[in-house]
Symmetry: C2
Subunit: 451 residues, 2 copies
């Protein structure tokens, strides 16, 4: 059954008020597929379906937690009556509950939190304090952690008890000492095959990495990716285990960070939701275009300075797009490689990197400059212009591609050091620079040698 026809049948059943057809339609769908259906609906239809789902709070919770944040699942949550609301939130993982409730306005937050048991409300308030893009904002506190002096046989019972209590997927058993400090972890396959009398501490493996509450999500993702962790431990300043971030949240982070980098390099901001409409796209892109317009004016101003040269040798206007465009391409290549390298932390020393990009740009500038110069020579001979135009084109191409490569590596490196996301604004600076530099080289050299 295609999603579209499902949606149509759902709408039909809603219009006719056919409750049994509705239940039949909704039953058997995976939470992620239910979430897609909810995203397609608008209130009040959506609120009605969430109301129907809330009969099974676990299912409603799963579907709500799978919805895209920009679809505002929290609104559907807030529309439920208090008793159902509490039941659904109790079934949400604590990190999902904190994310959803955090999106409500403060008065609504208090109303929703008031429906919960005191402990749960305190827990969720605590989670809501952490910034969304930190380990604290991503983590769940519902994990399985066992004392290191427990024998394996007892530990299995304890794991069973805790797993049933949290109701979350079980990936990892953390091992704590008497003070609650993280001492290691036990893979499940080790736990279930261990000597019953072996103390858990003797089975524990060192955790290859931990993160702090304030660790940025990119660094969390890097550690999880590097060490292949299903759940990474989050510890407080004193090394006490306070939560864990699971691989599925890390996959979302990696996808979001890549979206941010790709849209940033393309000259629009991640605030433009990929599903957004015309007005979101205009709002997100227009500021970048105005910034670009400013840099385009600067490039135009360089041409304006040499207007008299163009007036005398109009063939230079023919060469302009070649020099500027190729320099921009060289810069964009170095930029893409550098931004990706920074994102994956594949670091050479930056100094070595800058030299490399200057060299690559220079070699490529010479290789393509020779072809462009040959074309310029042909054109000059054809039109009876000064054949030294070819030499000017060669020099301008060569230097512009070299400095383009350098700028492409330098700009994001400097932005990163300054704490600015290097993907977001680099491309404007780099292409502005190669445009200005290209025109200055071409027209300046022409002014010196051809007139």
């Amino acid at each position: 059954v295609s999603p579209d026809s499902l949606l149509e049948r759902l709408r039909g059943a809603l219009v006719q008020g056919d409750e049994s057809a509705l239940h039949l339609l909704l039953a058997g769908l995976h939470a992620s597929d239910l979430a897609d259906l909810l995203e397609e609906l608008e209130d009040p239809e959506r609120a009605r379906v969430v109301g129907l789902l809330a009969v099974d709070p676990a299912r409603a919770a799963d579907a709500l937690s799978e919805m895209e944040p920009e679809e505002h699942p929290e609104d559907s949550l807030a529309a439920l009556p208090a008793s159902q609301l509490a039941a659904v939130i109790a079934q949400l993982a604590d990190d999902d509950a904190a994310d959803l409730i955090g999106e409500l306005d403060p008065a609504e937050q208090d109303r929703v939190l008031a429906t919960l048991p005191r402990d749960a409300a305190v827990e969720i308030r605590e989670l809501m304090r952490h910034a969304e893009d930190t380990a604290g904002g991503l983590m769940t506190t519902e994990l399985v952690a066992v004392r290191d002096d427990l024998p394996a046989a007892d530990a299995i019972h304890e794991v069973r008890r805790q797993a049933a209590a949290t109701g979350q997927r079980l990936y990892v058993v953390f091992v704590l000492d008497a003070a609650g400090m993280l001492r290691g972890w036990v893979p499940l396959e080790v736990l279930v095959t261990a000597e019953p009398a072996a103390p858990l501490g003797s089975l524990a493996l060192p955790v290859p990495a931990v993160v702090g509450l304030e660790t940025h999500q990119e660094e969390v993702a890097r550690a999880v990716s590097r060490y292949n962790l299903a759940m990474i431990a989050v510890v407080d300043g004193s090394g006490r285990l306070v939560g864990g971030v699971t691989f599925d949240d890390v996959i979302d982070v990696i996808e979001d960070e890549s979206t941010r980098d790709i849209l940033g390099l393309g000259g629009t901001s991640p605030e433009e939701e990929l599903r957004g409409g015309v007005s979101e796209a205009v709002r997100s892109r227009l500021p970048w275009l105005y910034a670009n317009l400013l840099t385009a004016f600067m490039a135009a101003w360089v041409v304006y300075l040499f207007e008299h040269v163009v007036e005398q040798i109009a063939l230079l206007a023919v060469c302009m797009p070649v020099i500027a465009g190729m320099g921009g391409n060289s810069g964009t290549q170095a930029l893409a490689v550098t931004v990706r390298r920074l994102a994956l932390s594949e670091g050479d020393a930056p100094a070595g990197l800058l030299v490399k990009e200057l060299l690559v740009g220079g070699i490529n500038g010479l290789a393509t400059g020779v072809v462009a110069a040959a074309a310029a020579l042909g054109l000059a001979l054809l039109r009876g212009a000064d054949p030294w135009l070819a030499a000017v084109v060669l020099m301008a191409m060569w230097v512009n591609l070299a400095v383009g490569g350098l700028a492409g590596a330098l700009v994001p490196t400097v932005l990163e050091r300054a704490g600015v996301d290097p993907a977001i604004s680099s491309s404007i600076f780099v292409t502005a620079f190669t445009d200005m530099c290209g025109f200055f080289l071409l027209l300046g050299l022409a002014a010196s040698f051809l007139i």
Copy 2:
């Protein structure tokens, strides 16, 4: 201890042949960190360290499987004596073993496979048959799968036995019927908390998604990301469970695909390893620059057609970079959004998308065109040129940004439908198009209305 000083101390101990210092240095490092050290070394040093590690085959296997493929860990593997080689391979996950052995030349492959037990060799040969970027190429066959008629208590014993036999991380217990068909899965937390007598079939949840042996890795990643699966089942044509792909391999796929998209949009190919040197970068980028040069010649040719116009109104050369650059930016914005949308399969119907991008480009073209026209008017008044230059600039900007938006959405959509990776070659076509279109509009309108 910083990685650099570790490396220096390792090299020192290697030179002095200080075996106890070497063992001390290598002990206690995580496999991923060991892999980094190995990547920094060159043969024969690397082969010596792998030889030292091979005393503990499990550790050597972990370190080799964490090395980047382009560092050719398989060479270190092949340098081991036969008995150690077999011991190390026995400790590799079967998918990692297949990947490593698959990189050797055929004669070496036969030598290595001959050191293995017949069963394992057949298994690995089977895995080596699948393309690397398919589910078959990513999967492990070492998974835990239990018959649906087994009571939970017996199933726990069976899971324990299989987990010990595979030696792999345990994430998921698959449930099979008597014919080996996949019937569902049991989360570990359900298994360990179940009634001992409950048949496994009654505990099984439906798997939200399966993939086939030939399913492309991007689609595998989408399913894992969508349904938050620690391991996704791979089934053959008849629905029999043949393997599983784990989240950590999926994270690698997602990162590789993003790298491919970012480098593709930047105009270089993923074959340029991010860690590569100058010659790899030149080899990877130069073909793109030549392709770009060809399109730059086409843009230059448009200017050439209107050379007489530029000769009469040199101010047009000042406007050229603004019109072309802004059109390129509009196209690149639409391109980045479309490529990312295709990668994440956030589909509107393509037709709606094209209309949206045309509209967004048109609105932004008008908004920025008015500013550019005001600047052109000022310039024309200052220089005593025809003030209608402003109208020409407005029209050219408006149309160029609109068609730029359309081209940015259209080109990757068409490439995707034609089975070509939309990230790789789109940017060349889009900016070539906006350059040519921009010059044609500006100079053509000027020829019609200003001369």
